[in-house]
Structures are given as structure tokens and as C-alpha cells.
């Protein structure tokens, strides 16, 4: 047989079959979704990261205690990155008689590389975007102006220099405000060098801030890493503030969830369509086998046609994905006024092709059943149905998780999601089996149509199982994308409520606490948390010098060797939950310490490890009693290390407070500083606003992508409903020939679908709730309580879908003359 010619000749007939069309639509859609996400979500994330980079001050930063080599800047310029150098050091400032210790920050031309420097001119109401201060000029923040009792336009002394305060510094986009303990002065870097303050004994911090295209940043990072010497620290956006990383990770997880769901559903729809195709092709295959065709030829004929037809469908999907991605990108660019990096097709294409090949490999197995069609089938149609060897199932079972991981999905997320869908199928299978056994008993005592409907289900367990499982998976996915994920998104956004702390106050002395809290109440502060804070160092870990303790993450060396902020508390701090171990018992005081779990993991210590700390002049020996999961989004004051109060007795310390002050009451801070001149208030509202923006933007992207999953779920439903429809139509025609009425036929179909729909609805709502709970707990790390709406919605959708299926089947059967269906 001239196989290529036969393959080509049958193409037109193949494409006319409804299951072939369904397969092609699902394939095109899957590829469109993949393309959109692989190119678009990456670009969207780049775009969002660019926005997030404003908080970090750049896409990348290198920090050091000594001046950074000029080659670092040249290397950045060669790779098309923009750069700016900053230098920070504490210094005493003088204005007439007044003096104040300030955090002086000097910046080079080109600063900032991300975000905007906002300043307010003397006498101006509104602030504006500012350039770095010129020679002889400086910007002072509100706290510094207050502390020195001056206004913009005044002159101050910095070392040997006299500078003019040209404007008030409103916002400095390098993320360091959060951590600055003293008021800030911004000056030009040449002035800072000329002030004569960088001699021996000074402790300057140098930072090189860099920004540019993602690929250039990656290339620069790879180039730079080997050149770094101890004391030079590289930090990417993802490594920046914990709360930023948490927002980024969650957003990314939501997007991954939507895409994985879409992909798995499209794969299922394709699988069902090809299973139907294999059923249809079985008779032709048996005939060809009778005529002497080999097994391989019998398989290659439909396989060749499927692959040939898949090519234009894949291209159409790719083009659709490109258009969709462009559209999404335009909207995002317009909304956030940011320039997105161009799509790097050459870089994305190989990955996409591998994913498409993987997807096809996952869904082709039903066709391999044709290898087992015996020639005997040509004589006895029912002699052998094309079964599927179980070994082929390993392809989707292995392929889909690999595809998920290749797309950069979080491992836990991929596992939870696929396990969720697989258990949907398994649980549904079990339930359907139980229900079928029950129905078999029930059928015996029933008469007429009811018995007929029940028997038709009971005698086709595999078909019912397949349709029930597909219906369940589609319903689970539908619930996940329409209810659970939006609920989780809503919950995420609610993690930053209106009264989230937007001010931190440092340097509170213990004896000021009562008066301070009274004053806070007077100025209208809410959500007040006051915690003790001390600065300590790790001296020993399990009785060996800490410096000899190996850390898995090189970035942790600074925590192991440098100063650590620590606190103590009798109760588990708000916004924290216990991950391992038990919280201490106030009745049995001891020397326990609680560590933030990620910090403990990176430091390489666990429950029961002994840590020696030096706090001030005191040596304290503590044992790791528990690990905490910390909600960094809560904007409370959080500590990596919290001691048991008994371990911190007589330790010299201060207090730190966080609270929310509505913007219209911001003047209260002025009176607070007047009452307690030693306090250092820090405005974290701006950062909070940016995080809120980021959460909103990622949520919007995830919601748009969840719509794709909804469409894919509809495709699966369609495939599940269409499965074995020809057989049902034929039986319906026979019953019509025997004189059954339209109403009776509709009742018969409804009864059949109702049983399937109800089983699917019960299993799907349970599984969607469970998957949601698991996702919330394992991936998104917050509590999730599914509402009653879940089973109600599942039942409504299942009923609607099944009623539609029954109506469509009855309608087709009653509209087509029975003779036509019986001939088919």
C-alpha cells in the first residue's frame, strides 16, 4: 500500500469528522495558551518585575563595604545595562546650632535606574520627579528637616562642605528607606567624596544599581558572579524584600495554576477525541488487516493524518497566541506606562516545540489501541474493541508533570494540581463503580424506561466511567477556575487590608512605651504592634564557631557572621504560624528560640540545634524549639529569630512599633517626633502601595488566564458528551422505530445523564474544595475555607450540562428519521 498517498487521500474525510475537529480545536487552543503564556506571561512578569524593581532600586544590585571596581560599571554598559552608583554612610549634620545624625546617601548621574526620585520644591504643594542633586546641593527628607528645624532652601554642613537643601526628598526608589534608621540626606557622589568623610574608620556602603532587558541582566549576572570577592553581595529583585518576593511567588503561582489547568484540560479533550477516532477507525483498520496491511500501516494511516492536520492547527494556535499576547501586552503597557522588553521568539521557540511534542505524545496513546485490532473484527464487529495497553498511560502520567515543570511551574503546584485532577478521576471511578452496583440492584425492581435507563448505564461501565471521570474533571476544573482561584485571589488581596501598618517607629526606649502608646492612640493610629528588638550576633552553632558552620546559600553568610535583629515573645507573633515544633509553655520557662522556617533552611539549622548568641555584652545559649511560617505580606514587624522571654532577661534592647495611620492624619507623626525626639519613624506606605499595585496587577493577569482554563473545561465537557454519541443515537433510533415517544426518549436520556451528572457534581465539588485547600496551604500559604456555593454551583452546572446533553441527544434522535440513523 502506498501509505503517504492513502494518508493524503483520506485527509478531507478525516477533517469532516466531529472528533477530528474537536481534537484540532483543543490542540490549537492549547498551543495558543502555551504561546501566550510562555511569551506573554514571561513578558508580563518581566514587566511587573520591572515595576517591582523600583522597590529594589534596580533589576540587580551589588553591595559592598568598599568601592566597587570600575570594570563592573563598564561590563554593564557593554551589555546595554544602565547603571548608577550609590554610597551611604552615617554622618552628623549641622544647621546653625541644630545637629542631627543622618543617613547620607550619595548618588551618581543616572540615578535612579528604576522608578522615580520624587522631590518637593521650596513652597510647592505638590511633588515632582527630580534629577539627582547638583553640585553643592542636597535633598533632605521630612524627618531631617523636622529634626534640624529647617525648610528647603536652608544651608547645612556635611563634613567640610556646605550644601544648599534644594528640595524636600519625598520618595527615594531604592527600597532602603524601609531599613534606614536615621533621617536621610541625598547628595551628589562627587560632593560626598569631597566632604572628607570617607577616611579610615568610616563605614560606607557602596551599591551599584543596574537595570535593563531580562536577558542582558541574566548575561551580566553570569559574567559577574565569578568575579565577586567576599564582601561583595549580588541581589536580584527576587532576592530583595521578603514581602516583595512573597507577592511575586504567589502571583507566579496563580498564573502557573491557570496555565497548567488549561494544558491538562486540553490534553484530556484531545485524548477523548482521539479515543473516539480510534473507535471509528477500528472497523477500517480490521478491514485493512484482512486485506493484508501490517499493524504499523494500520496505525500510521490515522496517525499520519492526525499529525498532518495537527501542523496547520498548531501554526494557527501559535499565531493566535502571538496575537493574544500582543494584545495583553499592549493593555499592560498602556496601564502601567512601562516599556516591555520585545518578544524573544528565537529563545522561546525550542522550548515551545518541545512542549508541543510532549503534549502530542501525551494524547496520542488512544490511537495506539489500533495496533491491537484483530482482522476478525471485520467479520464480527463486536469481537474485539480497540483496547488501550496500560503501559501507554505512563505517557500522560509522566508527560504532563514534565511539561508543567518545563514551563517553570512550582513543583508543589504541579503536583497538587495533577494529583487533584488524577484523584478526581480515581474517586469518580470508584464512586461510579459503587453507584453502578447500586443501580444494578435497583434496575431489577424497576420497569419500563427507568429500568432501560439504569441497565444502559450498568451494562456500559467503562463508558460511564470515562464520561463520568471526564465530566468530573471538567467540573472540578470549572470550579477551580471560576470559584476557588478567584476566592484565593480575593483572599490574597485581603491580606493587605486598609489598616495594614504603613508606619514603623524605631528606637523606642522601654521606659517610653506607655507614653508612646498613649500618644499613638491620640493621633488616631490603628493596628499597633510593639515588639522588643535587640541586635545580636551568632557566635556558635551546636558548640562550634558559627563562622565554621557551612551554609547552603552563600547569601546567608552575612546573617551567620553579621548583626541580626532579634526579638522575644511569650505568644506566637501575629501573622505567623507554627510550621514545626511546639510554641513554648509560659509555665515552664526555658531557653528556646523560634526561627523563621525559610531562614532556618537557608542557614542549615533545624529543631533541637543549639545556637550561641552575643547580645550586647551578654552571651545567651538557646535551642531551636520551633520553626515559624511568616506572612511577610502582613507588613507587621517580623523577625527571623524570636527568643523565649526567659532567654532574653536583662538583655539590652529597644522597642520597634508598627501601626497604621490614615494618610489624612499623617501630621500626627510630626507631633509624635516632637514629643519623642529620639524616635525614628519610617514611612512604609509608599512601599505598601507598590506591593498593593503588584498584587492587583498579578491578580488581573491570573484572572485573564483563568478564563482560558474555563474555555478548556468547556472543550472537555464537549468531548465527554460527544463520546459514544453515535452509539446512543443508533439506540435512540431503534427505540423510536419501536414506537417510543419524544417525551419518553427525553426522560430516558435525562435519567441517564442525571445519574452521571450528580455523581460528577458531588465528586467535583469535594475535590475542588480539597484542591483549593491544598493549594492555599501548600502553595499560597494562607488559610482557605471553601463556601457552600461550591457544591451548589457544581450541582447547577452539572444539571445544566446534563440537561443540555439529554436535550441535544433526544432532539437529534427525534429530528432524524429512524431509518436514516439505523442505516448509518
Amino acid at each position: 500500500m502506498n501509505l503517504p498517498r492513502v494518508v493524503l487521500r483520506g485527509l478531507r474525510a478525516q477533517v469532516r469528522q466531529s472528533e477530528t475537529r474537536l481534537f484540532l480545536v483543543a490542540l490549537a487552543f492549547a498551543i495558543a495558551a502555551l504561546t501566550t503564556v510562555q511569551l506573554g506571561a514571561q513578558r508580563t512578569l518581566d514587566l511587573l518585575l520591572a515595576k517591582a524593581a523600583e522597590i529594589n532600586g534596580g533589576d540587580l544590585s551589588i553591595a559592598s563595604r568598599s568601592e566597587l571596581p570600575a570594570g563592573f560599571v563598564d561590563g554593564a554598559a557593554e551589555r546595554g545595562l544602565s547603571s548608577a552608583l550609590t554610597l551611604s554612610f552615617p554622618s552628623m549634620l549641622f544647621a546653625g546650632e541644630a545637629q542631627q545624625l543622618a543617613d547620607v546617601k550619595a548618588v551618581s548621574a543616572g540615578y535612579p535606574v528604576r522608578g522615580e526620585l520624587r522631590v518637593r520644591d521650596p513652597g510647592a504643594e505638590a511633588d515632582r520627579t527630580g534629577a539627582p542633586p547638583g553640585a553643592g546641593q542636597a535633598y533632605a527628607d521630612r524627618r531631617l528637616l523636622l529634626a534640624l528645624g529647617i525648610e528647603p532652601g536652608a544651608r547645612i554642613e556635611l563634613g567640610t562642605l556646605e550644601l544648599e537643601v534644594a528640595a524636600e526628598l519625598v520618595e527615594d526608589p531604592d527600597g532602603s528607606q524601609l531599613f534606614a534608621q536615621a533621617p536621610r540626606l541625598l547628595v551628589g557622589i562627587d560632593d560626598a567624596r569631597a566632604a572628607g568623610l570617607l577616611g579610615p574608620g568610616s563605614r560606607p556602603s557602596w551599591r551599584l544599581l543596574l537595570a535593563g532587558r531580562a536577558d542582558a541582566v541574566r548575561a551580566y549576572t553570569e559574567w559577574l558572579r565569578p568575579q565577586l570577592v567576599p564582601g561583595q553581595r549580588l541581589s536580584r529583585i527576587e532576592d530583595a524584600a521578603e514581602n516583595l518576593r512573597s507577592a511575586y511567588d504567589r502571583g507566579r503561582s496563580f498564573i502557573d495554576l491557570a496555565v497548567l489547568l488549561t494544558l491538562a484540560l486540553c490534553a484530556l479533550a484531545m485524548w477523548l477525541a482521539l479515543a473516539r477516532m480510534a473507535e471509528r477507525e477500528a472497523d477500517s483498520s480490521a478491514l485493512l488487516r484482512c486485506l493484508g496491511a501490517s499493524r504499523a500501516e494500520v496505525l500510521l494511516l490515522p496517525l499520519g493524518q492526525v499529525l498532518l492536520l495537527a501542523l496547520p492547527a498548531a501554526l494557527a494556535g501559535f499565531a493566535l497566541g502571538l496575537v493574544a499576547e500582543g494584545q495583553v501586552n499592549r493593555v499592560l503597557q498602556a496601564r502601567f506606562a512601562l516599556e516591555a522588553p520585545p518578544v524573544d521568539l528565537a529563545a522561546a521557540l525550542p522550548g515551545l516545540l518541545v512542549l508541543v511534542a510532549l503534549l502530542l505524545a501525551c494524547v496520542l496513546p488512544p490511537l495506539f489501541g489500533l495496533l491491537r485490532v484483530p482482522p476478525l473484527r471485520a467479520l464480527q464487529a463486536s469481537s474485539a474493541r480497540p483496547g488501550l495497553p496500560v503501559r501507554w498511560l505512563f505517557l500522560p502520567l509522566l508527560g504532563l508533570p514534565v511539561a508543567g515543570l518545563m514551563m517553570g511551574g512550582d513543583r508543589t503546584l504541579v503536583l497538587v494540581l495533577l494529583l487533584g485532577l488524577a484523584s478526581a478521576a480515581a474517586v469518580c471511578g470508584l464512586l461510579v463503580w459503587l453507584v453502578l452496583r447500586l443501580l444494578a440492584r435497583l434496575a431489577r425492581s424497576r420497569a419500563g424506561l427507568t429500568r432501560l435507563a439504569l441497565l444502559r448505564l450498568v451494562r456500559k461501565p467503562l463508558l460511564v466511567l470515562l464520561q463520568g471521570a471526564a465530566l468530573t474533571i471538567a467540573l472540578t476544573a470549572l470550579l477551580l477556575s471560576s470559584r476557588v482561584a478567584p476566592d484565593l485571589l480575593g483572599q490574597w488581596q485581603r491580606t493587605l487590608p486598609a489598616d495594614t501598618p504603613n508606619w514603623f517607629v524605631l528606637n523606642i526606649q522601654p521606659d517610653q512605651r506607655t507614653a508612646f502608646e498613649t500618644e499613638l492612640g491620640r493621633i488616631g493610629a490603628r493596628t499597633i504592634t510593639v515588639s522588643p528588638v535587640a541586635i545580636g550576633r551568632l557566635v556558635t552553632i551546636n558548640d562550634r564557631p558559627a563562622s565554621e558552620h557551612p551554609v547552603a546559600d552563600p547569601g546567608m553568610a552575612r546573617w551567620r557572621d553579621g548583626p541580626l535583629n532579634l526579638s522575644w515573645s511569650a505568644q506566637l507573633p501575629g501573622g505567623n504560624s507554627l510550621a514545626e515544633g511546639a510554641w513554648w509553655d509560659a509555665a515552664a520557662p526555658g531557653n528556646g528560640v523560634s526561627l523563621e522556617q525559610r531562614f532556618a533552611g537557608r542557614l542549615g539549622v533545624g529543631l533541637g540545634d543549639r545556637l550561641g548568641l552575643r547580645i550586647g555584652e551578654q552571651e545567651v545559649e538557646v535551642t531551636v524549639a520551633n520553626l515559624r511560617a511568616t506572612d511577610w505580606d502582613s507588613f507587621r514587624v517580623n523577625f527571623f529569630m524570636v527568643l523565649e522571654p526567659a532567654a532574653a532577661e536583662r538583655v539590652p534592647h529597644g522597642l520597634i512599633a508598627s501601626f497604621n495611620l490614615p494618610p489624612e492624619r499623617a501630621d500626627g507623626i510630626r507631633s509624635l517626633v516632637r514629643s519623642f525626639p529620639n524616635l525614628s519613624p519610617v514611612d512604609v506606605g509608599a512601599i505598601l502601595d507598590r506591593i498593593r499595585d503588584l498584587v492587583g496587577e498579578l491578580s488581573a493577569a491570573a484572572r485573564a488566564l483563568l478564563a482560558l482554563a474555563l474555555f478548556a473545561a468547556a472543550l472537555v465537557l464537549l468531548a465527554a458528551l460527544a463520546y459514544a454519541q453515535a452509539e446512543r443515537r443508533r439506540e435512540a433510533a431503534l427505540l423510536r422505530a419501536l414506537g417510543i415517544s419524544r417525551g419518553e426518549l427525553a426522560r430516558l436520556m435525562t435519567l441517564e445523564w442525571l445519574v452521571l451528572g450528580l455523581v460528577a457534581a458531588v465528586v467535583a465539588s469535594g475535590l475542588a474544595a480539597f484542591t483549593g485547600w491544598l493549594l492555599a496551604r501548600q502553595v499560597f500559604q494562607f488559610a482557605y475555607a471553601p463556601g457552600l456555593s461550591l457544591p451548589v454551583l457544581a450541582a447547577l452546572v452539572a444539571l445544566a450540562v446534563c440537561a443540555l446533553a439529554a436535550w441535544a441527544a433526544a432532539r437529534t434522535a427525534t429530528r432524524t428519521p429512524p431509518a436514516e440513523s439505523l442505516r448509518a
Binding site: 432501560l452 441497565l455 444502559r456 450498568v458 422505530a737
Partner: protein
């Protein structure tokens, strides 16, 4: 074709379909009258329009021209729903490819027809008729567990369970070997005789046709000959 009490009348019956090469006439100007209790064999070569004629006479399809009167009811004036109701009470079928419901066993296949016809003792009657066709010991076998001859006997039991006044049989022995065909034919005529059923039989088996009282020969969709076999 005879006077007396006609149970089935066809007047100017025609069927045209649109094909890839234009319109196609399958049946053209067929007239026939069949009295209650009579038997008619429709004969002709493959593609002569025999099965199409049977489908139109039974109301399983609608004609492009002409009309059919079944038991005095003009099928053209009835909708599919009304035709189905008429078939339920008055008509039985035997198909060449048996057309049993694969998910029901032999007994259940017969029972569903009995229940549809509203027979009071449907269960008992179904059992009896299956015993009559010699399948009393195969009641709970699914169609795929029965031979072709046995499946056709189940179909006969189903067709006669409600003793219909009119039975349509489309090549009832076409898929059977000689011995099975003989058994099925004998059963068909025996059951018909006992129930007094009018029979319309499509066949190209001339021996089978000879057992009918009347014969109608079709050539390319037109009546070539009609009358009583010699």
C-alpha cells in the same frame, strides 16, 4: 392489489435525495394496497429501492412524493411523534442486522417492546414468546453472546410480543446461514399465522418471497411487476 380490508396503501410514493453528483431518484411512483392478514414480498436487486420502500411504508422515513395510509392513517399528515405512537401499537419490525440493544439481554430486549406496547403481563409474555422461538434457556444472554440466528430469533420474539397487526421484515435472513435462515423463516411464518399479522417482507431470496401471497418487484425504484407468485 386486492379489494377487501386494506391495512396498508401507498399512492404515488417517491423518494429523491441530493447527492454529490446532483439529485438522485431512489423510488418513483410506487402504488400498492395490502389487505389485513395478507403477506407481501418486495423483491429486487440491490439498490432497487426495496429497503427505502419499506422505511416509507413503516413511517421510519418521509417520502418526497405520494402518501402512505397505514391502518387508515395518512402517515404524511402525521408528525414523527404521532407515527411513533402508531408504530408502538400497530407495527413490528425485523431488521437484517437484528438491531438489538447491545446493553440489554435477550429477555430485556423483548420486555422493552412489550412494556412500550402496554401489555399487562409483559414479563410473562416476553418469557413465553422467547420460549416459542426456542430461546427459553438463553433469556439472560447479551446479544454479543448469541449467534446471528439466535439474535434474529430474539428480534422475532420482540416483533411478535405484542402481536402487531402489521410486521415489516427487512431481509430477515440476509445475514444468516442456510440452516439458521430456514429456522428463522419457519418461525416468522408460524408466528405470523398464529397472530394473524399482515407481513411486508423485503428480500432477494426468491424461495422466501414465494412463501408470501403477493409479490412486488422493483427495478431502479419503479414497480416492474406486481401480483401473486406463480
Amino acid at each position: 392489489m386486492g379489494g377487501g380490508n386494506p391495512i396498508l396503501v401507498a399512492q404515488g410514493l417517491g423518494k429523491h435525495v441530493d447527492g454529490p453528483d446532483g439529485g438522485l431518484t431512489i423510488l418513483d411512483g410506487v402504488d400498492l394496497t395490502l389487505n389485513a392478514g395478507a403477506s407481501l414480498a418486495i423483491v429486487g436487486r440491490s439498490g432497487s429501492g426495496k429497503t427505502t420502500l419499506l422505511s416509507l411504508l413503516a413511517g421510519l422515513d418521509v417520502p418526497s412524493a405520494g402518501r402512505v395510509l397505514l391502518d387508515g392513517n395518512d402517515l404524511s399528515a402525521l408528525g414523527e411523534e404521532a407515527r411513533a405512537a402508531l408504530r408502538r401499537r400497530r407495527v413490528g419490525f425485523v431488521f437484517q442486522s437484528f438491531q438489538l440493544i447491545p446493553t440489554l439481554d435477550a429477555y430485556e430486549n423483548v420486555l422493552i417492546a412489550a412494556e412500550l406496547a402496554g401489555i399487562a403481563d409483559a414479563r410473562e409474555r416476553s418469557r413465553q414468546v422467547l420460549e416459542t422461538v426456542g430461546l427459553g434457556r438463553r433469556l439472560h444472554h447479551l446479544p454479543r453472546q448469541l449467534s446471528g440466528g439466535e439474535q434474529q430469533r430474539v428480534a422475532l420474539a420482540r416483533a411478535f410480543v405484542h402481536a402487531p397487526p402489521l410486521l415489516f421484515a427487512d431481509e430477515p435472513t440476509g445475514n444468516l446461514d442456510g440452516e439458521s435462515a430456514r429456522i428463522v423463516t419457519d418461525l416468522l411464518f408460524d408466528l405470523r399465522r398464529r397472530a394473524g399479522t399482515t407481513l411486508v417482507l423485503v428480500t432477494h431470496d426468491l424461495d422466501l418471497a414465494a412463501r408470501c401471497e403477493q409479490r412486488l418487484a422493483l427495478v431502479e425504484g419503479r414497480v416492474a411487476a406486481a401480483g401473486t407468485p406463480a
